[in-house]
Point group: D2
Chain length 396, copies 4
């Protein structure tokens, strides 16, 4: 193990770019690792730049398929929406990136890993808890949290050293993106009363210029996993991208939320997640058709718990694994088709069918052929209401 | 108390109209009571018809304001959406109608009350549990559940007796409507794969013919109650109607759901609730800004419980009252403004502000003026992750 | 399938004995099945008597090992105590007996199964829900619920027909017993203010005549299953019996409870479960040492749910299976030893150890060698209290 | 406001005694406040000593009645037992002491408050969160956490300065005690496998020398509050003390627990709480008789939440207040009598009665006079089991 070698989670952005010389100046041998989880931009070029910035080694890891299989699809099966709205986009990639960092640290004999998060966000927690669970022996560095430089200081630092950093289009926003969606923070968005300007959105079109006629799409699920779009079988990664593109073209999937961060503050967050929100709507709808009532009720509660702990960085925890086991025990029933209707800014299920449907027309219909014994209901109602009736009597 | 006098919850529809002669033929003196909770149609005319059908007395009770104050507004404060979708429209009116029935029974010395529900729906439960809690001494009759006639038999019964019943526009659907929304069942909707045809909708326009440009509306809340629209103070009843009209004109508020009924079956339900869904979206958003994290987390769980038990007929239960007390203890903080953006089939909050906002710009910002101590985070993260780390170590 | 053959759950007691001729008189070919789940009494003799009573066939099934493995041990892993007190004794045997009934029905081509429960207890629900899940095609008969005879009528019925029924020691109590405990109802116990008389107890000695000196016992668990007592390996069945005998000799394990039955009434129940309560105390204590905090917190909640649904008859439900899966995902950690101290009427853990202990002396100690960084705490506390502080500020 | 005046929570023990000169040496004007919450020892003498130690002012506040009314009785109504075992003894006094500190700070114009907790316990969190909520403007000092001295260092510090500190009987344990119980930590107890030696206990007698015959006591509750013992009306404070004395004389109320601390570690804790555990057993039993089933089920869940957040320092939080409001809405029903049977190390309810009892003999009995309609049960069971049956059918 090399006492002063560190594996840095490198995005190619300002902060992690500056972190390379900053760490190197403090005597670290820096290995920069960029993990492809579906973000845009030229990662190859960024990886090349890391060497110029002073990294001794620089790697690009394509983790998209792994990300989808082990993080995104479980989140879909949980209908994971933090505060009922946010599909955990960044919260899902952090544990995966942590795993990659640890793997590279093991291969290269590094004694430390580093991330570029500040001290007031959730991501520092997600990285550090994951790293603590995966490799309690590795030191964790958080240069951006430690150096105490604001954005202007950081740029000045880069200019001083003439670092090859792209600050061409100085976006006022802080962005994170992957296969499952995109988050936008800072700038004017820090005023929760101000509506997000149209320029914050990249992967959803303005709904005011979308097709009013709308369209329907049909999705097929096998055991909770989407496997076909419009009858065509697709790998999950491509299906998610395809659904995202369609839904995004209708301006569906925008989220504007006052969010409770784990570190104790409220922040205003804006997201785009057209694919995630469409697929969750469809998946949840199919569950309503195929899962038993009492199980479903408890699953909905555990979804909230799962989502919260993943948001809070506890991916590698026994509770997350246990809730996954709970869900796996019935997920094979979630097989069938859902038809979604998309319009400008909207997406709703309008039809669903399944070989495992618990909907029984003979029981549900009010027509002839009704097989429900109405006289059973009288007894049911009587006993159902008995505790309330006894309570009411005792209050007189 | 008159041994054979019954107070009937009378809607003017086929079933409760036929119930009048059916009960009278069985020796009951029938008092028909129509309760106005915001449904459409000429209730005065219906009440007149009840006498022709054989009722000894017939009354119209305007309960709209009471309905809004004691049932709808509490449901709004709970963001009550059964299965995350259905705003409890009918489930809210049943306990109120039960109260009116009991009141009239007390005034007229009746020994029984009657409702027109079948044996497989939720409404029988809601009526009977409410009545058992309010007046355990009164007998409860459920003629429609007992007589075992299908729809055709009922019509034949009416024709035989030449009853003055309106069957002009024989709708294939079974409808219930009030201030808070409208439910549609039966007919083609019993196939959950078939998309609801456009003709089931009455209070929402086809979103495909709505204005693509959309519009924004601003709502003001005081202690969780909406009190002004676009700056104009309105009584809650009128505000709900006004918001419903605007949102309905955009085709927003349609719900298509496979629902778990209390009596143990799954059914396919279609609803329209443009006002309810808009107001809940706004209210929930304002709560995110003004309520403390741990409280909010627990409130969200109790919302699910409240909604389920009200759906299941337990309005007059100590649990419902207790959850109301839980919510009342913080609801004064839910004061402020929310701006909603409406488009075809869509409605989203895009801004919110409050004198009680817990959002603190100085804590949340990444700019200068940041008052959050980043070094606190390092200690926090370490202890936060400690249990997971210990667990991981013990698994090696 | 024989149209008029029924398989009866036969206990040898008054009700199910009378049920044989009662069913036979109504044209049924009755097969009596006694299932040994650890109850006392001569089941061989009882099975012989069934033929005299008119059964065409009569069987004894020794299901004790199966009962322990598939029902009792899972209940132990759930620390299952309904209302925090009752270890589900009868609720665990009903689904197993139902399975045996269905199996015999399949072997003998019977078209129906029958149980001897009344209409106001929980056991009818447990039998009928289990049977509906296991064999929805079989008719379920409930002769005792249907015949409407009180105890005196039943005895008169037996005397009239000169049935070979034992009413020698006419106990005023209604008893159910199995490996996991014993329940006692009726008679003077129906007054919840009256203390249970000493004569209701059979498997626990009067604590007032127990050894004041007490004793300690040491239990070993492997993956949540007790496998050794005082260092000696034992099959679970024998270990449970042995622990029950020791704890019972101290008068430990008596339960006196006002219980909420599923059918909507409160009843007063008395139980003895010395083995169950001792083992649950030990198991729970070992979990506190070996399971991670957040997981444990959620497990405790799910224990309550599991216990309630099993009490309410939903053993063969997807929710029960899912909670089992949740628990299985971490149960291998629950390995180690617990020392229990028994005294008159009391039993408490006084020591526990495990190779998987999450207790870390270096972290927990206040002595030298403390490895906990106290300075981390300051940051933790600050962020932990931040939401409350913001709330307090906003209330001024 | 005096810039360098601090109000110290002073117990008279080693740490807070040493804290006085330590703070004074750092330029603070120290006001020592001892809060009487029912701990033993001569507080007057201790308060006098504080002046000798260098405090400029020293006060004794008798907060016992306030402690019982505002903290202990609410905890009793919640049946508050952390991890099902620990009645929150210290967790209840910390918020009250914080209130007293703030009050004295306001009176004396102090700019800071101080507590004597270390960095690895729960009490630092309870103090600092409470203080942050009550007085966000006051600085909070934690000298013991900051100075980094171990026990030996602290003693050396005292000897060097010749401080008037009592170290006569150098107890190996760390103790906290109040009206509601007593906690013992450290020394041999840090080995969770070692049974607690008899010398750790002060307020419970060795059960092996208690009266084998036992005794019964009768408690009366009004609206959840204990108001009489053996028919004699008593103030809550005196009743708690009297019950504690009786139960303690039987050796009942000892707790030995591996506990999950908020700061992320497991610790082994020993407590004595004879009064608390007896009263909670009685209160809970009376609730089972008087509270409605669905409400009770939810209350039991919220009890766990309330207990956890109070343990975790969130007394002054909107969630705690909201749960109190939930409970208050039904607590008036919890009125009546409970008879407890005490024996060596044991305490169990054996009888309970109430004017608000929901137990209805006519419904519960199996005798004549049974008013429960058994035929209602058949319909109830059928619908209750329907979802499970449909699920089972769909799995074939």
């Amino acid at each position: 193990m090399s006492a002063r070698r560190v594996v840095l989670a490198y995005s190619g952005g300002l902060d992690t770019s500056v972190a390379i010389p900053w760490l190197a100046e403090r005597g670290w041998d820096v290995i920069a690792v960029a993990v492809d989880v579906g973000q845009p931009g030229d990662l190859h070029e960024a990886v090349g730049r890391a060497l110029q910035l002073g990294a001794s080694d620089s790697r690009l890891v394509d983790a998209r398929a792994d990300f989808v299989d082990r993080f995104v699809l479980p989140a879909l099966q949980m209908n994971a929406l933090y505060q009922g709205r946010y599909p955990l986009v960044s919260a899902l990639s952090r544990p995966l990136i942590s795993q990659v960092l640890v793997q590279v640290a093991r291969e290269t004999g590094a004694s430390a890993v580093a991330h570029g998060c500040t001290g007031k966000g959730n991501d520092q927690v997600r990285f550090e808890v994951a790293l603590g669970a995966l490799a309690p022996d590795l030191e964790v560095l958080a240069p951006v949290r430690d150096w105490g430089m604001g954005r202007d200081d950081t740029i000045a630092y880069a200019l001083e050293r003439d670092l090859p950093i792209r600050t061409t289009k100085s976006s006022p926003y802080s962005i994170d993106e992957n296969v499952w969606g995109r988050s936008i923070e800072c700038g004017v968005l820090e005023d929760p009363w101000a509506a997000p300007p149209e320029d914050v959105y990249e992967i959803t079109q303005d709904p005011r210029s979308a097709s009013l006629a709308g369209r329907e799409i049909e999705l097929h699920f096998e055991a909770g996993v989407p496997t076909a779009l419009e009858g065509e079988s697709l790998e999950a990664l491509h299906l998610i991208e395809a659904v995202g593109k369609i839904a995004g073209s209708f301006g569906f999937g925008r989220i504007d939320l006052v969010e409770d961060r784990l570190v104790g503050i409220k922040s205003r967050e804006v997201y785009e997640a057209p694919g995630a929100l469409s697929l969750i709507a469809a998946h949840q709808d199919l569950e309503n058709l195929t899962l038993e009532r009492a199980y479903l009720l408890e699953k909905r509660k555990l979804e909230t718990t799962w989502t919260r702990i993943v948001y809070e960085g506890l991916w590698f925890s026994p509770l997350r694994e246990a809730i996954d086991a709970f869900v796996s025990s019935s997920s094979d029933a979630v097989t069938g088709d859902v038809r979604l209707r998309l319009g400008p800014g909207s997406c709703s299920p309008v039809g669903r069918r399944s070989p495992h449907a618990l909907y029984d027309h003979a029981l549900a219909t009010y027509d002839e052929g009704d097989s429900f014994r109405h006289e059973d209901a009288a007894g049911f109602v009587k006993l159902w209401g008995l505790p309330t009736k006894q309570w009411a009597k005792s209050r007189v």
